[in-house]
Each structure stands twice: as C-alpha cells, then as structure tokens.
Symmetry: C2
DNA sequence: AGATAAATTGCATAATATTCAATTATTTAT
DNA sequence: ATAAATAATTGAATATTATGCAATTTATCT
C-alpha cells in the first residue's frame, strides 16, 4: 500500500486546488465564461494567492495548536523579517506576523502534541535574538482560516 | 458592469474550490484514479473540511489585521463557546480559539482599516461577559494559512 | 492458509474548464 | 459631446479533467 495521505496533505496545505467555475456560475446565475474571466483576472493581479485545503487538524496529527508571542532583543528590532522568514520554512507554523504591542512577533503553530511543540520551541523558535516566549495554548478551535469548525 | 469580485471573494473564503487531481497525479507519478480514490476517502472521513482560496488581504480591503486577546468574566467561564459561536458569524474574524494562559479567547481579525476594526470592537467583541480586550496589531504578515506571503 | 475487505488501476464516459470570436459596456482623449 | 480605445461579457466549440465501473492486486482477519 502506498502512503499517499501525507503527501496529499503536504500538497494541499499550500495549493494543488482550483476554483469550481461551473458551480459558482450556477450559484451566481452568471455564464461560466464570465466567472472564468473574472477569476483569471484576480489570479493575474495576485489578488488570489492560491487555492488550498482546510483540514480537521486533529485528524492529521496536528491537534496541538498554540499562539506564540515572541519578544526580540533590541538588536533584532531592525530586521525581524530575517528571523520570520527562517521560521516560515517550518510546516508546523501556520502563520507569522510582525507586531506592535506586547510582543514583536506572533506565531500560530500546529504540532502533533506537546512534545513535538516543545522540540519546536527548543530547536527552532528559541534562538539568538529571541529573548522571551509566551505560549497561549488553544483548548478548542471554533473557527480557523475563515472556516467554522464543528 | 457586474460587481462579481466581492461575491467571488465571499464564496472563496469558505469553499467553492476543488482538488486538481490530474496535476497531483502527474506530480506524484500515480494514476489519477488512485489519487481520486484517496482524496474522496479523506473527504468522507472529514479529514478535509473544505477547499478555499487564500488572498492578498491588502488587495481585498482587509489590510488591517489584529490578534485580539480576550478575558471573560468568571460567570462566562462555563461556556465560552456560546460567545465564540456568535462571533464566528462575522466574516472579518478569521479564527477563534478558546485558550489557556493570559486569556480565555484569542481572535484573528481582518478589517479594512483601523476604523472598521474599532467598530467591530465596539459593536461585536465588547459584550456582556467580556471584561478585558488586548489588541496586538500585525505590522507585516510573513505567512498566513500555511502560505508564505511574498 | 483461506476468506473477506480494502486499495489500486485502466478504460470509458460524463462533467468541466478553457479558447476563441463576437458583442456590449466603460473609459479616455480630442 | 463624440469618437477611439480598452475592458468586460457572452455563446459556441474544443480540450482537459474528474468520475464511475469492473478487474486486479494487496492487505487484514480468523
């Protein structure tokens, strides 16, 4: 048996999906060509970045979700983006934002469990320039990526 | 001229997309029927919740992004989900999580600008049961919904 | 090991996206 | 205000792609 599921999940996290033009056309009561034209324009203008899947993360072994508030040392204030872009490579990190307020950076992280998260903190997130980390653990997700999770 | 764009954005936020089976099959060097079978199974098992678009939010008038840390009054600790589910109706709210740590609930919000966000705080997020709100404003988004942004 | 269920696959067909050319609407320049 | 140019809409034809089905292989259970 081939282990297709993990590969599919990988591809679907960032793309490999496409709009359902016929269904949209029916729903909006417009010709499919009109819908097609408008969508292609939005793609060309980069209004739409990608089409992707949203998962039940518990079911794909990413049930442990946290928000990580990060403080940087003053020497790093100049280019927080350098650190951010390195972190972006890690597939457990759903989002990265440079912030104002109590912290300079906020991550949303999805790991298998507390242990995997701990390793991520130890090996990836803790690094020169990061002087403080505060974790808020999600106990229950009501909505994610604009999708209500029942 | 028809105003198709906003309607498309609404549909694409939560669905109206579908996997590109042929492209995945080519990429993974497997027969399309095999890919099809595996995807359908993941859909039936609700491993995949939906297929959707990811936007350049600045370009769709949702450039003002914040994380909102919410404290609830002790009387509401019993069912934070009630409030959460009411908030979930609002399309500006990308995610809602019930948390441990410094707050009981954390939202990710995308509004047009500070003014629209202010109105959301006043009219929607502030309500009986919410005793404290702290906003962290995103200055720059490096990654969102698992997708690196530019 | 044999029986049962699950997964993989090729082929045929149905559904869908895409191209193209023509028409209509909108914007720009004079 | 009008003409010219550009952008958006559309239907019909075609090219791609998903899907259903039956056969085969692989895995699971007793």
């Amino acid at each position: 048996m081939k282990d297709i599921k993990p590969k599919l999940i990988g591809l679907f996290k960032e793309g490999y999906c496409t709009p359902q033009i016929a269904r949209i056309a029916k729903r909006m009561k417009e010709p499919a060509t009109t819908i097609h034209y408008n969508i292609k324009r939005m793609e060309e203008e980069n209004v739409i970045r990608t089409y992707k899947a949203v998962f039940d993360y518990k079911k794909i072994n990413e049930g442990f979700c946290t928000f990580v508030l990060i403080n940087l040392s003053p020497d790093e204030y100049g280019n927080p983006e350098k650190i951010a872009k390195e972190l972006a490579k890690y597939p457990q990190i759903e989002s990265i934002d440079i912030c104002t307020g109590d912290c300079e950076m906020i991550l949303k992280v999805r790991a298998k469990d507390q242990e995997e998260y701990y390793n991520l903190i130890k090996n990836v997130i803790s690094r020169r320039g990061v002087i403080k980390i505060k974790t808020l653990t999600s106990l229950k997700q009501i909505k994610t990526e604009f999708v209500e999770t029942e």
